[in-house]
């Protein structure tokens, strides 16, 4: 019981990270109908910028945990958002109106470029960091097994919820959010109503990248180890989460992320850590076969 509760906490905090990345996939898919295959690597860039920011802060003598984390987040969001904008400019916009697979291929190309760029500029070795935030609270005790909720997990859950709340307000309440939804439903019509659709698409990539930067920072803090290749696995898992939740559905992406996080954690806890990735990918296969529209995805029914 206590063990399961602990796994639940672990799973949720991991799932939140996947959910944040998944939102980026599902947003871009919603607006241009394509998967951004460079998104996982944008997440990786986010983690690296956070790492560099942390090292600079430590050099500069900022040792206070909360301040350091806040500054890391800001730096990572700002720089990674720029990468998101660049991905759209380089891999997608020049190919708009081209055949459907073209931007997909250019995005995969850009993903390889980003990985190699980080590998060359930062080195291929894994980068460890010391824990910025230690300790936690004991929520529950059963015999000698104490269920811990670490400060780090609280931070992840809190930050992710805050980012998602801000994002939800943006999409549902602001002119930009309205423009995004309009572009998603009918881009040509959106333009006829005076919406700058290119700008809206750019901003969608920027916002997706900003959320991925938050995820990257949380990933760095949680695991304390990153390398240039983390974007691939995290990216594919977040993509799985987006598909499981229903690609194009924003709440679905978060739900899918939580489920993938929980499945992976419980699988590792009760079956085998070695096969945790297999569990996640089996979900992708099963979803695609039996539930192609995902849990919260909509059936494509359009009235003519």
């Amino acid at each position: 019981m206590a063990y399961a509760l602990q796994q639940l906490i672990n799973g949720i905090s991991l799932g939140m990270i996947y959910g944040l990345i998944a939102v980026g996939y599902t947003m871009v898919y919603g607006i241009i109908g394509m998967i951004n295959f460079a998104h996982g690597d944008v997440f990786m860039i986010g983690a690296f910028v956070a790492l560099i920011a942390l090292l600079l802060l430590q050099l500069g003598g900022v040792m206070d945990g909360t301040a350091a984390i806040l500054l890391m987040l800001l730096a990572s969001v700002a720089v990674t958002a720029l990468y998101g904008w660049t991905v759209e400019r380089v891999a997608y916009r020049p190919l708009r109106g081209s055949f459907r697979l073209a931007p997909l291929i250019s995005a995969i190309g850009l993903s390889i470029v980003l990985q190699n760029y980080v590998q060359v500029s930062q080195g291929a070795r894994v980068k460890p960091v010391e824990a910025v935030l230690r300790g936690g609270v004991e929520v529950f005790r059963e015999g000698d097994f104490a269920v811990q909720l670490s400060y780090m997990q609280m931070l992840i859950i809190g930050t992710t919820l805050a980012a998602l709340a801000a994002f939800t307000i943006l999409v549902t309440r602001t002119p930009l959010g309205r423009a995004m939804r309009a572009c998603e439903q009918d881009r040509k019509m959106a333009a006829l109503l005076g919406i700058d659709t290119d700008r809206t698409i750019s901003l969608t990539f920027v916002i997706g990248a900003a959320l991925a930067a938050v995820a990257g920072t949380m990933y760095l803090l949680r695991y304390g180890v990153i390398d240039f290749y983390i974007g691939f696995l995290a990216g594919v898992k977040a993509f799985t989460a987006a598909v499981l939740g229903g690609i194009g559905s924003l709440p679905g992406a978060v739900l899918g992320g939580l489920l993938i996080g929980l499945i992976e954690t419980f699988w590792s806890a009760y079956f085998s850590v070695q096969y945790k990735d297999v569990a996640a990918f089996s979900i992708l296969v099963l979803t695609l076969i039996f539930l192609p529209t995902g849990l919260l995805g909509r059936q494509e029914v359009e009235k003519v």
Binding site: A182, Q185, G194, I195, D196, T197
Partner: protein, 258 residues
Amino acid sequence: MSAEQSPLLELDAVSAGYGPVQALSAVSIRVMPGEIVTLIGANGAGKSTLLMTICGDPKPRSGRVLLAGTDIAGLPTHAIMRQGLAQSPEGRRVFPRMTIRENLLMGAETLAEGGDRSAQLDQVFTLFPRLRERLAQRAGTLSGGEQQMLAIGRALMSRPRLLLLDEPSLGLAPLVVRQIFGAIRDLNGKTGLTVLLVEQNANLALRLAHRGYVLVNGRIAMEGTGAELLARPEVRDAYLGGGAPLPPPLPADGPNPA
């Protein structure tokens, strides 16, 4: 119409098309302020392309598109639409997963942020009372006629100088068509709204409009007042295959003053 007025919209030898297809060849038309001008023609004559070309999608390959004297050809669509144009496009294109209210508000997107939209909403509801009853309903669940009303209402939300209407009668019951055409005439009469109307239902369109153009294979084949064109045997033979009883034509002496 008075000779000293300058046109609100003027197409000067505009050619346009999609890819290898040349849909419009050296088309010249003028729309004076306060006029209802219709463009009739068979399927595939280039009517919708003409409206879309005015809106910059596709961009004209040659020629000029003058809005109140300024050349807008070559500007991006969103920039053109911010100059007082609104279009209710072919196929209606309402946002299916937005509510009626959200759809209407999208129409006012070009206006200053945070302004009061209640006057425009009221105007739309006066024209189409049915929309008021369904404000919170998703547009995808509306009937074809209601979607058409919504598309026109949405176009009116931006208080346009020039309203472009593409086939508002397409696929609708005659009663609904009459209602919509009546609304267009009301708007023109009461507010002096200038309208460029594309229609396949030539009979109806020519009775409504002050002037008309006939588009054949991407070229202007004829022009004249609604009454003149209605009387032409070529027009009768090609485009008027009888029809439902209709309201009488507008007086030929020009647009009503605002």
